[in-house]
Symmetry: D2
Amino acid sequence: MDIGFIGLGQMGSAIAHNLVKAGHSVAVWNRSPEKTKALVEAGARKAETPAEAAGGKVVVTMLAHDAAVERVVFGEDGVLASPARPIHVSMSTIGIGLAERLTMAHAGAGGGFVSAPVFGRPNAAEAGKLFVVAAGAAEALAVCAPLFAAVGQRTFTVGEDPKAANVIKLCGNYMIMAAIESLAEAMTLAAKNGVDKASLLEVLTSTLFSAPVFKTYGEILVHEQFKPAGFAAPLGLKDMNLVDAAALNAKASMPVLAVLRSQLVTAIARHGEEVDWSAIAKVVDENSGV
Amino acid sequence: MDIGFIGLGQMGSAIAHNLVKAGHSVAVWNRSPEKTKALVEAGARKAETPAEAAGGKVVVTMLAHDAAVERVVFGEDGVLASPARPIHVSMSTIGIGLAERLTMAHAGAGGGFVSAPVFGRPNAAEAGKLFVVAAGAAEALAVCAPLFAAVGQRTFTVGEDPKAANVIKLCGNYMIMAAIESLAEAMTLAAKNGVDKASLLEVLTSTLFSAPVFKTYGEILVHEQFKPAGFAAPLGLKDMNLVDAAALNAKASMPVLAVLRSQLVTAIARHGEEVDWSAIAKVVDENSGV
Amino acid sequence: MDIGFIGLGQMGSAIAHNLVKAGHSVAVWNRSPEKTKALVEAGARKAETPAEAAGGKVVVTMLAHDAAVERVVFGEDGVLASPARPIHVSMSTIGIGLAERLTMAHAGAGGGFVSAPVFGRPNAAEAGKLFVVAAGAAEALAVCAPLFAAVGQRTFTVGEDPKAANVIKLCGNYMIMAAIESLAEAMTLAAKNGVDKASLLEVLTSTLFSAPVFKTYGEILVHEQFKPAGFAAPLGLKDMNLVDAAALNAKASMPVLAVLRSQLVTAIARHGEEVDWSAIAKVVDENSGV
Amino acid sequence: MDIGFIGLGQMGSAIAHNLVKAGHSVAVWNRSPEKTKALVEAGARKAETPAEAAGGKVVVTMLAHDAAVERVVFGEDGVLASPARPIHVSMSTIGIGLAERLTMAHAGAGGGFVSAPVFGRPNAAEAGKLFVVAAGAAEALAVCAPLFAAVGQRTFTVGEDPKAANVIKLCGNYMIMAAIESLAEAMTLAAKNGVDKASLLEVLTSTLFSAPVFKTYGEILVHEQFKPAGFAAPLGLKDMNLVDAAALNAKASMPVLAVLRSQLVTAIARHGEEVDWSAIAKVVDENSGV
């Protein structure tokens, strides 16, 4: 399939490589063009504009924030300017409002729009083991199926309204951040009462909390591996702000979310923009005098 | 083994029955004596006082709060009054301060003390599928091993200082409550954005959150089964207060704990003392205008 | 002085009337033109566009939110389109980012920009008893002095950078909201312990809390006068969101702000958009089972 | 009048001195007897036991925490052991539960009980400028009137049930702590946006927040005078814990209280037990990366 791929950060590059490996014809575009090099060597083609990348059947975006998506879609030489009218598959975490705007814009332009955000850190992306949460018109989803199969271990289809997938993605990221914070608080409480963090973690993950999120982040917390970031704190804060915007708009009460945003602000204020979002655990320790 | 068992609530009765079934000689005591009936029919012996129940090698307590434990241990005809000097195995959730006091008192009296709180709701207790977290002198733990095997699916030994087990139990209950609250907030956000709670739950529990705590409580939240309570809200609040006391004493910063206590207070204030602790999800909905 | 006045809501109308009364020549503009009627009767002149209103020495904006300010300044026939290059005096509560943008835009256009937000509810505006917090170039402030004198009881000059006044205004509104919430919590605690709210208020406002904010809102809380709104909850939430944006941008930790936003969301979700922002006190009561 | 005075800390000594100065016959007792020296030099008499101090018409307690009050009242040679059956006037901040217990115990013993906590820092105590909040039987209050007049600038009588005064005192201390925290958050937000803390304070205290609590603590915050403590952080935390206990017992929802306790825990964990309770402002700064 002719696929355009826009956004070659850590996650995007890994996904695009898997599409090339799966035999798709991939045209790549990135704001800093040097990032296209490795993919071109792997067999992809370099597009000069987002519109050019959008010349095939499908164009994927995997970008750092809403403003970047707006630029490559609505901007000059953007996706909407492509005469091919491709299906736009948005795989990054975007806000609910933007998802609605994209749905309407593509419908108006005669193209399609599918929201297909993914769960998984960079190593899962490289291994093609992401979880894909997809929503959109059934026909469009059918077209995208081989694409999703090439990058993920499982695809969840959650309805015809694209934003449903974004809602679930935002909820998921919120849940991860809440899991990290609560685990951090429990570990600090344990440590300050003479029980080491690893012992607590072992009991938790062997019993009621035997899930990947606790194992993965539990290890990070025990070993305080906050750099280099798998998912940087400012990205985490950006996502929690998208959750906050969705909650404000829908008038949903989320008191734990408020704590999470506050901890992220402190983590960044104290430790800079390079730390992993799990560095909120460091804030918990510091606020406990550790 | 000659075992005394004090405290025949929902959890205690189920555990005591499993001890009888496993062939142990069990003497039972309960403040309201009518609760001993079913166990006597099953083969247990009724003790007239806690001291009498403490006449064997081991005496277990499974009681609703710290004051009840203090009464049966330090009170008139209490466990400490037994000339048998048994190993006291405390299986209920008690505070760190009380665990320290019991450790010293039993050492002073020439008996032993093991903290062995359990994870699992009443149905797990009945099935002998509890998780036991045990701490105490190695010799005492060895004596208790067959007892733990009769009631649980796995025993975690976490050191020689009994209170370590209590710390882990309190951390675990805190983690469960935090999981419920964050799941409730995510579900309400999803629902108010047009995504049904069950869809969100399926994605979460099939991916990063594939752990019993999310499956069990997720179903309760989706179906709003807050009555009858598997674990009543006032007991949850009592436990969060024990966590709070441990955090204050150790100067551990736990901002999410503060949210949890606040939600439990509201759940009880609005819906009474009979609701399950997961009814904080109802508070989230109500505070969102649902 | 030739003054343009844009935005004739409850606050704007009262201020504009005082400018007319003080003898200034006032041109008024409002999106819904029927609101200009009373002012025209009082001696003002109706402008057909914001640009026309900006034809004098000074043009004041008093609008409900940032988007409205952006529209009348940057939009078609907006303030920037006026060849008069007036001093734009922004009296409503706007965000820090917009204040910076306005400062630059007016400097670029050859006009001036003064931020002069006010403290006071509608009755203070009618009485010409507002507090004005003003920042901008000294020369521009000197031009505006008689204007401020006509509408307020005192003007605080807080520097040459306009946004300083907006920062102080946002801090002030945050402080008011925090005062209301903490007073509400104290009153509910008192009431649930058998002490009536009015008794508590009397002691507080006769001693350490003898300030207008506690007297004014204390009475509102005691008498539960949440309708009609002096300052509607959605406006309060909008302001707290501006504070939140400023805090996020500057990486300032504001845990009480998080509580306030959460309470406002609940107040609106439960009681609609018509209630006063002090209706968060109702949420406190309801969350306490009252 | 024959007055006993128990508890000669910073506040107690100042109050007792004023009683001596006013011509009362004062018998003083303190756990560390050396603190009685200055008062004996000023004309007081040293009592050897709390019971001896309670040999007159009235006995005042001004102690650091509930346990100390319990000891001097219910303990060996305690106030209740005095055959004089005096009116016990409790002037320190105690919990609601203890107030109820004291009311009953003194009634049972044939004495009287008045709760009369005070507002004011040590310098106000020295100047005889405290605010006294008193509750108890009318007759007992009449007896105490000259005592209150000697130590305070105004007495508020708030009913016949002694605990009403304690409820109001706890609410007041909660309000002070909330005022400090919100002022600290606003000041940090201002400072991080280029507005100095003193400028913000001047606007606030000249307008809606023209109350002693903001002036006093505002100066402390601007000058970061957190040592020596006028009221040490652990005492502040103790009081917030009494508020928390009252809120839990009455099921009152107090989300801002939760923030305050958390900030105090961090202040103590990071800066030790010697800092003033207003050092939560330091935590706000630190959590903002200042």
